[in-house]
Symmetry: C2
Subunit: 135 residues, 2 copies
């Protein structure tokens, strides 16, 4: 009886389908936050290479130290990024994608690729919509 769309289970009723709240929603919300995709993109530039905290920070304009720390901590918690701490002076910390993190790249590529191909059309649609607004 239970089917799925986009990984989300739903049930058919006489009044139509009803999406069932489930774990994937939470994962999607995490990945869709303000910085996660950008951090993943930076690490994806050369998936074989580990990057220092400061290299990542420099690569993402406007991200604060606090938000980068939080974002990396969440990615580490989710098993998508590994953290390597070197107890030197001054300390050095490197991050790299885990095997699971690397499997995400093609899926991410498909989604961001669509955006790359369509964001201009979206921009135009927005302008048309806004212009039509004040009649």
């Amino acid at each position: 009886m239970e089917k799925t769309i986009h990984g989300r289970p739903y049930i058919e009723t006489k009044k139509g389908p009803i999406l069932t709240p489930c774990a994937p929603n939470g994962v999607l919300a995490r990945l869709g936050d303000k910085w996660t995709i950008l951090v993943m993109s930076i690490l994806a530039l050369d998936p074989a290479r580990a990057l220092r905290f400061s290299e990542i920070k420099n690569g993402i304009p406007d991200i604060s130290q606090r938000m980068l720390t939080l974002t990396l901590r969440n990615l580490e918690r989710d098993g998508l990024v590994t953290r390597h701490y070197f107890a030197e002076v001054p300390p050095r910390v490197e991050y790299e994608l885990t095997p699971m993190g690397k499997t995400m790249l093609p899926a991410l590529e498909g989604f961001t690729g669509w955006i790359r191909d369509n964001w201009q059309a979206i921009e135009q649609a927005r302008q048309r919509f806004d212009r039509a607004g004040r009649s």
Copy 2:
């Protein structure tokens, strides 16, 4: 000189790559909000069929009337959804995916498909991480 990763332009410097802020970031932020993907998923169940406001609302547990209205308005503004108003009593309003909206489905499917295949591993990673925390 300029390359792109995941649709985002970046520049190479001696200190490493730097992502350039650009429009796609805004589009991603919109799609990543709390309800947009869920609304798209409902409309994707049968892309050929238009759904009434109340049908969509019933299909998404816990969404408020206000947030559904706002989400649909944004999708309409972005050119991803069309709104059809029927001046009857009581009024009837139907929504359906635009052609551009439909082109988004495969990309979305790829991304949510990865989540479907990996969210359990992510859950486990989180539990491991949290358990390791309190030492």
